[in-house]
Symmetry: C2
Subunit: 373 residues, 2 copies
């Protein structure tokens, strides 16, 4: 058991152990550059960057320093993988599914539509063989990926009109990127790639009918509730969104083991801390959004079913074209099914009860039982 | 923002910074003893202990070593707090609600019946002021608590007969400890304290009608499915169960800052890793249990409502008797309500859909849409 544990947790360090500096050079200093796919305005995502840099410095008596750069400062936000692969920078903070155009296999590290939720993704990545399988795939890109943050299940975006059935998805012009856009296109929608700052005017003018961003905390800053008041859940295309720190493999091999451990541990800490921060901030923002006119809605069941079917059809297509995708997909899909069954039992039945209490029933000062039966 | 972040994340280090060794003594060695409330047979909980010890050694080039002891090896499992308070050992791994008999305020660190789920507890502890408020309370016990693992929502236990309504709770003799037992007693049941190894014969003979332990992975080892086949969800009295590493405050103050950071970071990493391990192992064990005759059930709504009311009534009583409880409870209860509302939106609607697909619908190879509407 102990030996298996060691191998499992030493997954990343293990991959490159052979190339590691042979002895810990006392006092040796490392100054690395870490570029992000995110702007500083996405304070929680970008904050993971800063937290990791701060913690690594604390753990190494300031001898291992990471200088952080926002998207565009030295590398454009969507070219972080290339910059790390080419050793332009040593480390990148990015969402791996941004690169799904190169190969859809990239998506497994972040999320797939109707994939794993936050805790299931952590389970698959750390204990279900995900990290090893994914880093095998990444070898061709000369980097290793370490899990470091998550947004949780995102929201399904802002709509100018209500979505009453799957027919309302057809011909919908929606700002959405990544694999989610591919699925919506299969359903007859027209996905559009629009940068964060340009979404508001496009939505206001009616150039687009809908737009998705992240969740309440990040969405609230952009003010969509003023021009597209129907706010839908869930963001089934981003049912969790695990973010990674990717390190150039040659740079990694120059690090003393102790610094490798410091970096990995700081990333893992940031994974739980960033999720906790979103879970703290989202309820506060949701309250403000609803007070500001947002109308909360859940996608109708037929929309969810059609999107689920379209997603699985797309996965089958990818599996037939990309052997790397197929290899991970076969174990991942069984994992997804087993996890969904288990989460429906204890976590699900508890969360459903608490969710059914509404805004007053959950106030225990009144000692009131729930009104809904 | 950065300054606030620093204060927030430096919470524990900050509390005792004044007493910290003034300069980092290069090469100074620390060998501490860490005693656990858990036996080694609870491999996942006890594994958190071992993971933290291993990681701290890796981060400090083996200069800070924690020697781990299982429950009873040097300190009985339920006396870990006392042993740390009296400096018999430097560190303890324990569930803080074990000590709720001293003061019910202890429960907030672990869970309260119908309290926060795993992610909500992380949010409250790390970003909602929980860690600071709790460590204020702990000062009187000469120790600091650092979050380090979680079981997630536990199961509601094994029953010889089905629970069809709240009337079936009355006169039920059930093995259950902690605050959950207090609530069940309010509902007319007779809670019994029975050590892990003695539960099976008591349940087999009918000395007790029901018993709760943890969740599928830990329960499966004890074989309850053979003698009390009705396996209920959720364990509303342990809707998350955050575990802690507690450190004697004088010992903590002797640690160089770098070692304090190593210990804190290793605990935070273990928090996400242990939850991920349970989430990996529980579906596997659940499958075996169901194959072995376990009949899965969800508590009827009237049982949940009565238990929820009894819990809130109990909290009100504690708040009127214990000012320390009242102080945390007032902010905690609002936090609970806001979090439950938010989790019902994105996470809830996604998990409900995935849970509704059943054991075949979630298998995407078939591309089948869900059968249930």
């Amino acid at each position: 058991m102990k030996r298996r544990e060691f191998i499992k947790h030493g997954g990343i360090a293990g991959v490159l152990a052979a190339g590691t500096a042979p002895a810990f050079a006392q006092g040796q200093e490392f100054r690395w550059r870490m570029t992000s796919s995110f702007p500083k305005s996405l304070d929680t995502l970008y904050g993971a960057n800063e937290q990791v840099a701060k913690r690594v410095a604390e753990l190494t008596n300031n001898k291992f320093q990471l200088r952080t750069f926002a998207a565009g400062e030295i590398v454009p936000g969507l070219q972080v993988l290339d910059a790390v692969q080419n050793a332009t920078v040593e480390v990148g903070q990015t969402a791996m599914y941004y690169y799904f155009g190169k190969n859809p296999t990239f998506s497994f590290a972040t999320c797939l539509p109707f994939g794993l939720n936050n805790r299931q993704q952590n389970a698959w990545w750390h204990h279900g063989g995900g990290e090893q399988a994914y880093n095998e795939f990444l070898k061709a890109y000369n980097c290793v990926a370490i899990a470091g943050y998550n947004t949780g299940c995102q929201m399904g975006g802002w709509y100018r009109k209500e979505i009453k059935s799957v027919a309302d998805i057809k011909n919908l012009k929606m700002r959405i990127g990544g694999p989610g856009g591919v699925i919506l296109a299969r359903m007859g929608a027209t996905p559009q790639q629009i940068a964060g700052g340009d979404i508001y005017p496009a939505l206001e003018k009616g150039t687009i009918d809908a737009a998705e961003w992240v969740g309440p905390h990040d969405d609230e800053k952009l003010g969509f509730n003023k021009i597209a008041k129907f706010y839908y859940a869930p963001g089934w295309w981003e049912c969790n969104s695990m973010g990674h720190f990717i390190v150039n493999d040659k740079a990694w091999a120059t690090l003393p083991k102790e610094y490798q451990h410091a970096f990995i541990t700081a990333c893992h800490e940031s994974n739980v801390m960033t999720m906790a921060k979103y879970d703290h901030l989202n309820p506060i923002a949701l309250r403000k959004l609803v007070a500001g006119g947002a109308q909360l809605r859940v996608f109708p069941r037929d929309v969810m079913q059609a999107a689920y079917k379209a997603s699985n059809d797309q996965f089958d297509e990818w599996a037939s074209k990309f052997p790397e995708f197929k290899k991970i997909y076969e174990t991942w899909t069984k994992y997804r099914s087993d996890e969904a069954l288990w989460f429906n039992v204890a976590e699900g039945s508890f969360d459903r009860f608490m969710g059914s209490l509404g805004s007053t029933g959950a106030a225990p000062a009144k000692g009131a039982p729930a009104k809904k039966a």
